[in-house]
Symmetry: C3
Subunit: 337 residues, 3 copies
């Protein structure tokens, strides 16, 4: 782990758009070592003892917040939880002032989720402007990015190919379909960047209302392999992995989809449909799953097909890796000023 | 403690219906040793360090959740709290999928409360089906069971008779009245099983709307001593202990009771009424108490009569014992798969 | 620190009305030593390991609760949070019974906030009556007192004058203006007691609707230096420190103020207005700030003028000091009974 830390240079993790293969590999390698810790009887390491990780989830979340909180605790950090409900925000305080308050209390790493794209970036910029030394970890901002989810997806995919040494190289040339509500998905956006950077072929599939042609543009002028499909068949033919996205019920009231049943008929993953994939195909989903919509129940519960539980387990390991990489290289600089 | 652990065989604690005297004694003995820890300046032991206890209180609770959380912390476990309000449940995820998510994050013990009877059992069955190795501790399900409450009541009663060595034997033949809303009480149901198993004579007392004759059937064909009374007098005459149950205000709107005052007149515990009990009678109540309804204020505050505070203190010790017994014998097996 | 602890005699911290200079100095000295801990990489000390600090915030709060929670964690205490929303209170339990429940679970220190003045005092009195040995720390009660805030303000002011050795003596004769909604401010009330005890000249300034003449009476017959102004100019002329108070929006609907703009014109702190102060004047605000109302944004963000972040940082150190002083001298006595 020493090598990884010495080479790590980013203070914040906000988006995966410009992550290099070397950086992704560093994360995968660090996550692999932490994943081993999770399977010991004693699942803790003292790496961040005495440091403070503050979860600022302006948009409520149980699953991702629990995963980050557990990751922080297993690194022996102290955690604070900011609860927007009973907070100063309702008293007219700006988000930047709220962030500065938690900085002044001694926060070393801020894990931030906000329904508006760009909030973690804005806080990170302000933290740098005042030379705080604090790190910001984007836990999902609007429709923009959800880097820790995409990194746990990459880690999970790499581990299928080589459980001993997960690294970008092993997914080179693999065909990965991302099926569902791409346009509203920060998970999809972050996965597009990391998976194509790793050399995978990414095939997006959704009805046109949920997947504008514009997505092709993301790869123009690069050597990223990205394809857009408005039918599922081509997208999943010979696929090595099928990543399904959560369908929000709001999409129906927004008139972007006729009905959940209609969606399932066109894009739901069923045993029948998987016959066109590679025989060893695996299914991912960021959860929570609408059974019978994105995935047939039989697929979700099939231990040889579904990586859903594996993703959750790997999520803790990957988040430990991210907190460790950005956290162990420095203490809260601001405090020293 | 070594002996107790070696002999402990249950993975889950869901109901006390089939608990043997040997098992109850093991819990009482372990709780007694943890109760001593609570009175040290340093109230922690490293027994569950690195293990994760997840509190899944689908039905909100401050008191029982705090007690379990403190018990877990004093065993040095890490704790996660599942908050149904802002959770995936509202996003259409099934309860079993939610439980599997917390399993996949690395939970070793799930402490589950749900307003529907049977939910902890269903989760435990699923956890076993997939060979997860996870333990489920029922923290109250519907009208069914609340084992940790009944065990802390048993522990409290035994300690009155023999503070040095609380064990079932010491309550053999003691007369214990359980007064109040028996039909809606999971506390009463669990106490019936544990107290009669320990050899106590249990006398239930309530108006017929809150205590159907059917309760007699629970002891038919066994040597359990269980009696049903629709007047309080016989139930508490010569009683060694009077356990009062909380009266929910909903019972009035359900037309099961004319008024709180009426209830207090018929079944409330007063100094006058206690004259018919044994001189050394003690009063229990699971809390929170409606002063002047189940108990006259003077009784609740009487240090020689009321065991209410003692029950709360013992609750932490008993929950430490339960977490310790089911937790220390195994690590999260599922994680190893 | 040994000397400080040996001399500390108060079990509770409820109000600063009768605090001596010696007691204030003890707190300042202890806070100074803990402030150093905050700037280490390893920000924890084992002082309260195994003890339980229960945050009972009947009135919701993110900022103060987080500060107390972090202070407790950095002293290695275990923390419990009482959440009034889902609590027994809504089930008809009295506040004293709720407090006794947390006592019986093993609480050593209760940190209490309530919108009604006097609740922490009532709980402290009951805890003493039953010889519990538990300490109560008032985290803000109604319009009455907010001692930890006033102590962090005093600490912050003293550190400006002498960062090495903050003590009351250094603020003797300093002119400190407290500007804003004095009548509704528990922060102002507590600051009046501590700052005048330390020997500072305190000048209150607000429109008459927010500052009755009665406030002069607080100093009558004492040698405390306290002045009331209904215009800001005299209050801040040659001031060494200007402490601004938060203006609640409710004041407008209560018809105590015409508008926020009007208030800002009359009592808002601007660069122009500060010209009449001492050249080295510093600005305090308990937060959260209404930018452009109590303070012009340029003042709040001015690193040489604003002590707002410094106050937040010092808040953790001062709260560590308070918990340490009242907590390290005794264990939960009640438990031993």
């Amino acid at each position: 782990m020493t090598t990884a830390t010495q080479a790590w240079t980013r203070r914040h993790i906000l988006s995966l758009m410009d992550f290099s293969v070397a950086e992704l590999d560093m994360i995968l390698q660090t996550a692999a070592s932490f994943r081993e810790v999770l399977f010991r009887k004693m699942k803790k390491v003292p790496a961040l003892q005495g440091q403070v990780v503050t979860n600022m989830f302006f948009e409520p979340s149980t699953r991702t917040r629990s995963s980050f909180e557990l990751a922080a605790k297993r690194l022996s950090a102290d955690t604070m939880n900011f609860a927007p409900g009973s907070s100063s925000l309702s008293k007219g305080e700006t988000i930047l002032d709220t962030a500065k308050t938690y900085l002044a209390m001694g926060t070393d790493i801020m894990v931030i989720r906000h329904k508006q794209s760009g909030v973690p970036q804005a806080i990170a910029a302000e933290m740098d402007r005042i030379n705080s030394g604090v790190s910001v970890l984007n836990a999902g901002d609007g429709l923009h990015a959800h880097p820790s989810q995409a990194l746990l997806d990459l880690f999970t995919i790499c581990r299928v190919v080589d459980p001993e040494k997960p690294r970008c190289e092993v997914v080179k040339g693999k065909k990965i379909a991302i099926v569902g509500d791409v346009i509203h998905s920060r998970v999809a956006r972050s996965n597009i960047w990391s998976l194509t950077a790793a050399g995978a072929e990414v095939h997006l599939a959704a009805p046109p209302t949920l997947l504008p042609e514009l997505f092709r543009e993301l790869a123009v002028g690069t050597n990223r392999k990205l394809f857009v499909h408005w039918q599922i068949d081509e997208a999943i033919a010979d696929a090595d992995f099928v990543m399904t996205l959560r369908l929000q019920h709001e999409r129906m009231t927004d008139h972007l989809l006729p009905s959940l049943r209609e969606y399932h008929r066109g894009f739901g993953i069923t045993a029948e449909r998987l016959k066109s994939c590679k025989p060893e195909v695996k299914i991912l989903h960021p959860g929570p799953v609408n059974r019978g919509v994105e995935l047939a129940s039989e697929i979700m519960d099939h231990p040889a097909l579904s990586l859903v539980s594996e993703q959750v387990t790997n999520g803790v390991a990957v988040r430990m890796a991210l907190l460790y990489l950005i956290g162990s290289s420095k203490a809260n600089q601001y405090s020293h000023s």
